[in-house]
Amino acid sequence: MHIKEEAIERHTLAVIVDNEPGILARIAGLFTARGYNISSLTVSEISDDDLISRITIVTFASAPVMEQIIAQLERLVPVHKVVDLTAKGEHVERELALIKVVGTGDHRIEALRLAEVYRARVVDATISSFVFEVTGTIDKIDKFVELMREVGLIEVARTGIVAISRGREPA
């Protein structure tokens, strides 16, 4: 007997919540408890009184499950609003990565050259290592990390996606 699977889509959600202790556990826990997927999750305060936070989640789910995820999130008491940026239309997604590359000679030169191509900045340097900071779409960062693996990457720290809709409407 095989466990059945359904066709899945990638969705980016912006969840506006009360910034209260445990809110992240509540949101992330909802996903885990109900078996939804979290591919990426970022959070930070967004109101000037620090009482409201924005949690950006990337999830992979079929369309009916997506409807459920949004309904389940919306009925949580501390949740103000849930926006499915993917369904809403055009939006901007960005990620930031810090990448540590160790090497000398040709590898070191190649690393610097590639960093220039990808508009990555050097934020730390020693004779035998660099830390690059790069921002961009997931694809761009994935590519850069892949390339750095060839020239001495030893550590990578990525933030996960933040996203915002295009145009003048909030969310």
């Binding site: 007997m1 556990a25 459920q68 389940q72 009925r75 501390p78």
Partner: protein, 581 residues
């Protein structure tokens, strides 16, 4: 304004909210609250013998009275013992507020004595929960907790109060009506959708109402309006386990419960309907059976207060998010305004009569052996004039009670549906008896289930509650055994009730009256003796040991594959069906 201790603020807030009864059990982390309780006499505390029973008693109280149930337990094991009842309330949408003690704020996270991460553990089995770290926030939190527990789709709310917060002082002022900034359940329906639903109903040739626990939760108005709409439309009505009593069982339009152990006519009517009006029900798997064969040629209107219930298991054509009383009111109004005549459903009803003629609830009887269905019917005949409140445990007896006991009103049928918790019935009966002191309250139980919270016999004795327990004793965990017969070729693994106590002696040890019924001839007299006794009574009624509960739609089967009797049982199931509960 003077400052008061957190414990006093809690008691005052509960009093302001109209709380009359609290079900609880003391412990170190709640001593300040218990001292505050001791000093007042407006709120009555009911001491249970296990915290799980406090939660089920609160559920029984809530389901019978419509008021929220309130629980008070200590930290650590007190809170963890309450988890089952809290989860039960979540799945059956019962309004409940659970106050748990906690270690002092300075000790949280240090593995202190009787410390548990109550808020972490209950985060996903409550509607909402709070950890109150400052006494000045406690009063408002309590009021908000009750608001959340009792509004929208009701559910359990936990308030975790550290001991130092119970002792520290602050000011308290009762807040006005709560206008929550984010939590605003939608209770009023979209009137355009109401009109669409009404027109669909008027045009349907084979309509059916599929009602659920939401009608009961909404309150007596929802029941009254449902009955009015049903009378106006002449349509047949079926209900889930949780919704029994919204339509009187004696009504001509009542088809009986639907689903896994529902009636033949209810399930076939759902299967053949062209329009299903779901009111306060959630298309649960016990009801739908195999989804791709569920009501294939029907359009569905779904009235529910919880948006996440819509399109969760079954795609519906017209969702209406509203409190079902508001939606039913609008539908009745719209039906009358549009001047729809009573539809001619003669053809549909004659089909239904054909299905009713199968008499699917008939059962064989022979000699002295008491069939469990016979015991339920005898109980019903002997008590129906008193409109008793019936609670049950979980299993075959629960299904037979749902099939054979008729309910004419809501709030009379208290059972654990969503979670299916054995051990629910006795404490729930205690809660119901406290909420309705003049009612006849009977817990219909199995001999396995009743042992799970048997210690509560003491609670009934302490508070002089004349609850009746009617055990259908077949010496097996009946429902498990039935499935083992169906699926595992009768390999009865651990489903035999070994080492049963002498229930009569056990009852008497706790100050109850015990009655034993062995033979069919003793049944009516035994029931009468139970009813005549002024005080709590436990009846050990011996019934046929291997009776099976039919009709049955096995897991993974469609409504059209309903089994009506034992001869249809093969003793085997394929892997896909075996993987389903």
């Amino acid at each position: 304004m003077t400052e008061k201790s957190g414990a006093d603020i809690l008691i005052e807030a509960l009093t302001d909210l109209g709380v009359e009864v609290v079900f609880g059990y003391p412990g170190g982390a709640v001593l300040p609250i218990y001292d505050a309780l001791f000093k007042q006499d407006r709120i009555k505390h009911i001491l249970v013998r296990h915290e799980q029973a406090a939660t089920h008693a609160a559920e029984g109280y809530a389901r019978s009275t419509g008021k929220p149930g309130v629980v008070l337990v200590t930290s650590g094991p007190g809170a963890t013992n309450a988890i089952t009842g809290i989860t039960d309330a979540l799945l059956d949408s019962i309004p409940m507020v659970v106050i748990t003690g906690q270690v002092p704020t300075t000790l949280i996270g240090t593995d202190a004595f009787q410390e548990a991460d109550t808020v972490g553990i209950t985060r996903h089995c409550t509607k909402h929960n709070y950890l109150v770290k400052r006494p000045e926030l406690l009063g408002a939190t309590v009021h908000e907790a009750f608001h959340i527990a009792t509004s929208g789709r009701p559910g359990p709310v936990v308030i975790d109060i550290p001991k130092d917060v119970q002792v520290a002082t602050a000011r308290y002022e009762a807040p006005g009506p709560i206008q929550h900034k984010t939590y605003r359940p939608q209770t009023e329906p979209d009137l355009a959708k109401i009109q669409e639903a009404v027109d669909m109903l008027a045009a349907a040739e084979r309509p059916i109402f599929y009602t659920g626990g939401g009608v009961i939760n909404s309150g007596p108005e929802a029941t009254r309006l449902l009955r009015e709409l049903v009378a106006l439309t002449g349509a047949p009505v079926t209900s889930t386990l949780m919704g029994l009593g919204a339509l009187p069982a004696s009504s001509d339009q009542w088809l009986g419960m639907l689903g896994m152990h529902g009636t033949y006519e209810a399930n076939l009517a759902m299967n053949q309907a062209d329009l299903i009006i779901a009111v306060g029900s959630r298309f649960d798997d016990r009801v739908t059976g195999r989804l791709d064969a569920f009501a294939p040629n029907s359009r569905k209107v779904h009235i529910d207060i919880d948006r996440s219930s819509v399109n969760k298991n079954v795609r519906v054509d017209l969702p209406i998010i509203a409190d079902c009383a508001r939606a039913l009111d609008a539908m009745v109004e719209s039906w009358k305004t549009r001047g729809h005549p009573k539809p001619d459903l003669g053809e549909w009803w004659s089909r239904i009569e054909g299905w009713r003629a199968r008499r699917c609830l008939d059962f064989p009887e022979a000699g002295d052996v008491i069939m469990p269905q016979r015991a339920i019917r005898a109980l019903y005949e002997a008590t129906k004039h008193r409109a008793p409140i019936i609670t049950t445990e979980v299993g075959q007896h629960q299904m037979w009670a749902a099939q054979h006991f008729g309910f004419e009103a809501p709030n009379k049928w208290l059972t654990s549906g969503g979670l299916g918790t054995m051990g629910y019935g006795l404490p729930a009966a205690i809660g119901a008896q406290l909420g309705e002191p003049d009612a006849l309250v009977i817990d219909i139980a199995g001999e396995a289930s009743i042992q799970m919270n048997i210690q509560e016999l003491a609670t009934a004795t302490q508070y002089r509650l004349p609850v009746k327990i009617f055990i259908l004793n077949n010496e097996y965990m009946g429902m498990v055994r039935q499935w083992q017969e169906l699926t595992y070729q009768s390999r009865y693994s651990e489903s035999y009730s070994d080492a049963l106590p002498d229930f009569v002696k056990l009852a008497e040890a706790y100050g109850w009256k015990g009655i034993r019924i062995d033979k069919r001839g003793e049944l009516d007299d035994g029931i009468q003796a139970m009813l005549n006794h002024d005080g709590p009574v436990l009846v050990d009624c011996r019934v046929a040991k291997l009776a099976n509960c039919f009709p049955m739609i096995p897991s993974g089967a469609a409504h059209t594959e309903m089994m009506l009797q034992a001869s249809e049982v093969s003793g085997e199931m394929d892997d896909e069906a075996k993987a389903l509960v």
